[in-house]
Amino acid sequence: MAIKKKDDVLLKIKDLRIEGYSDEKWIEIVHGVDLTLHRGEVLGLIGESGAGKSTIGLAAMGFARDGCRISGGSIEFDGMELTTTPESALRALRGSRIAYVAQSAAASFNPAHKIIDQHTEAPVHYRIQKRVEAQEDAMQLYERLRLPNPEEIGFRYPHQVSGGQLQRAMTAMAMACRPDLIIFDEPTTALDVTTQIEVLAAIRDIVDQFNTAAIYITHDLAVVAQMADTIKVLLKGNEVEEAPTEKMLNSPKEDYTKSLWAVRSFTRKQKNRPKTKGAVPVVSVQDIDAAYGDVKVLKDVSFDIYAGMTVAVVGESGSGKSTTARCITGLLPPTKGKILFNGEELPASYRDRTKDQLRQAQMIYQMADTALNPKVKISEIIGRPAQFYSGLSGGELKSRVDELLDLIELEPSKYYNRYPPELSGGQKQRIGIARALAAEPTFIICDEVTSALDQLVAEGILKLLDRLQRELNLSYMFITHDLATVRSIADEVVVMRQGEVVEQGPKDKMFKPPHHPYTDLLLSSVPEMDPNWLTTLLEERGVDNVGEASDASNKG
């Protein structure tokens, strides 16, 4: 992965400016970014959402999304000036010489066609290979990317293949015409940590083998540290700084970069269970089973949450974390077992619970965007539960809403009459918190509340939740797949896998060996800032023993 000679420049972007159309005028969103990429080099583009990473990545293909346009600067790809090249000639580059790997492979594969037919589309279209040759080549690529059953997997439809496998199949598809440059746009963001490793390993292998240059777009520093030769940091359409990976990690120059590096510095002191005998947990989940139709999804799940404590429930997608939350709130009545609240058994279905039982347990959701009705004023979103549970109205209601807005650190007079789409992601999540607080609960379920947020914003939300917990003596059930979040906020950890609790205990014990093998797998899969982390890990585990492969071996 050594940086190539200076004269071997593949892509040279100078003073790139891109405009986006909003409110009936063009607004500049990328303000003059320079970028130079040599053959075989991997450049990491990092930044928060809105930094313009994807927009710049697509511009490198001469492509602008609907509602965007390249308004200035030059993009020179292998001697060709893309800003003045006609659309038909640009199209001939795409897929053949520059390829793209999207964030969500599940959404970016066409559900109506077999994977291999989508793979062979570009090489057949460009007459690089005949269909049958292209299919054979696809199978070879699948094998190199360590996909199971490489001869057969391409003949499945996208929905028949798992997310991690699809992401590798998409990388294979990008390789179909052996392009000079691949744009990876957050290719592992939607994946579990255990699956992420195998995709990262696969991408790195194949980029090395074919000496392909790549632009790797991500918001995850630890990931980019594994992949990139050079890192460029972006903020709101401007370049902050650029340096070789090692140098960037060890001695960032700019304050913004340092602040990114310092994120996740937030920690709080771990609390322990009350020592007094006979202390009753706020929530006690006892041996519950649950099923969706005939499919059993939870088996013998038990854990306790004590007053004022945070219990993090971790596990990969499909491990039953959110289903457990649905059982506690009564949305999905368990088929076996019971849920106690302050020692009293709760009716299984929320329909049979009293208003007071309902108010005690509230939820905050992952996607604040979809969890808030965009057509309802903030005052009403927060006011409704206050009205419903506490019977407030008129002046009392207004002062309660103001109080709640104060509590979540938003100026009441400014936000009272606004609508959710006018707010930023972090602000929306704060409204979600205020809505939960409006019911005056003692227990809140936080379902991946920080996963959709940028790191700095996420940290703010964690701090807020921590402060509220201290002030209001709240108990949290914190559902997450992000172990860094667990490290910073949890008191106790419950590890779930395939609907069962694998291991549970206080955080300090859980993060120290010896672990249950699955806990160990989860912990060791979290990327670290060390650029050699992936290499070391793969050496330790062996390449055929990461992600799903190791999953299979652990099942036995």
């Binding site: 793209y100 970016s108 066609h113 439809y157 028949q160």
Partner: protein
């Protein structure tokens, strides 16, 4: 595929139940009509004696439920009783007329469905261009005009002024197929104009709706030409709504053609129904309504099955 067969069987079962409910509605709705059937049939020649005899003959003395069951038992075997006017069996009167209506519907559908889907794809490809707008205005105009009005316009320009086509679509037994197509062209064209807009606009909307999908962006980033993006990547995922609107329009072609048939004096089932209603020939009315209901149910069933067959998630389960 076994899943799909059992699903079709299940839907057919529901269809039969629906049809049963509709048959009850039809029978008792006719029952509710004011006046006495015997009186209506006899008209001015009604005397107390003839009325009594007529009622006896028609079985009107029996309770309605018994008559319904008798009628239903007959209908199951395609025996809808005897026409009150002509005295012929209803089924023989209807079958030829229904065949004529099916022919006209098929004629219109064979032209309208491909045209509207191809046009829909083209306007989706050329969206927001002049072509798109002109196509939209033209099809909207044709769908907003009443079909009898469209029919008369066509007669005026294509029959009266230029005498390219006959204004009256009368049928004779000895016509060959080409002649048949020629004579029924104007009513078929009227129907085509009425149904094309709806199907075309739905095709356009269904495709444009998908253009924001990540897999469409992926296709464009693979260098796929725009027409191929639409035909290969968007259209296969747009079939479900398109099939549904096509089925609805096919049902309209069979059951909603009364006015067109009247305008062109076409001997279809719609005209028969109008005649039967005006003459109070209730067995014929009931039979026609039942056939219309069955057509609707069958076409909707076909649409559901079609939507399932075009969905790879349902066709190829995990």
């Amino acid at each position: 595929m076994g899943d799909i067969l059992s699903l079709v069987a299940k839907r057919l079962g529901y269809g039969v139940i629906t049809l049963l409910v509709i048959s009850i509605l039809i029978f008792f709705a006719v029952e509710l009509l004011p006046g006495d059937i015997a009186e209506a049939v006899l008209g001015q020649s009604a005397t107390p004696e003839t009325l009594a005899a007529m009622r006896e003959q028609l079985g009107l003395n029996q309770p309605a439920v018994v008559r319904y069951l008798q009628w239903l038992a007959g209908a199951v075997q395609f025996d809808f009783g005897v026409s009150l006017i002509t005295g012929d069996p209803v089924s023989s009167a209807i079958s030829q007329r229904f065949a004529n209506t099916l022919f006209l519907a098929a004629y219109a559908a064979v032209i309208a469905v491909p045209i509207s889907i191809v046009l829909g794809v083209i306007v989706a490809l050329l969206r927001n261009t002049i072509f798109d707008r002109v196509a939209n205005v033209l099809t909207l105009t044709s769908i907003s005009s009443p079909e009898f009005f469209l029919g008369y316009i066509l007669i005026l320009y294509l029959a009266v002024k230029t005498s390219m086509f006959p204004a009256i679509a009368s049928l004779r037994g000895d016509m060959d197929f080409i002649d048949l197509l020629y004579r029924t062209f104007l009513p078929a064209l009227t129907l085509v104009l009425v149904v094309t807009a709806h199907m075309m606009r739905m095709t356009r909307a269904a495709i444009i709706n998908l253009l924001a999908s990540p897999y469409i962006e992926m296709a464009r980033l693979k260098g796929t030409p725009p027409w191929k993006v639409i035909v290969r990547h968007a259209l296969p995922n747009a079939w479900a709504p398109i099939i549904n609107v096509v089925a609805l329009n096919l049902a309209y072609l069979i059951t909603g053609v009364v006015l067109v048939e009247v305008v062109f004096v076409y001997p279809g089932i719609g005209q028969l129904l109008v005649d039967a209603v005006s003459k109070r020939d209730f067995p014929v009315v009931q039979a026609c309504c039942l056939i219309f209901a069955a057509t609707f149910i069958l076409l909707n069933l076909a649409a559901d099955v079609g939507a399932i067959l075009t969905n790879p998630r349902l066709r190829h389960p995990k």
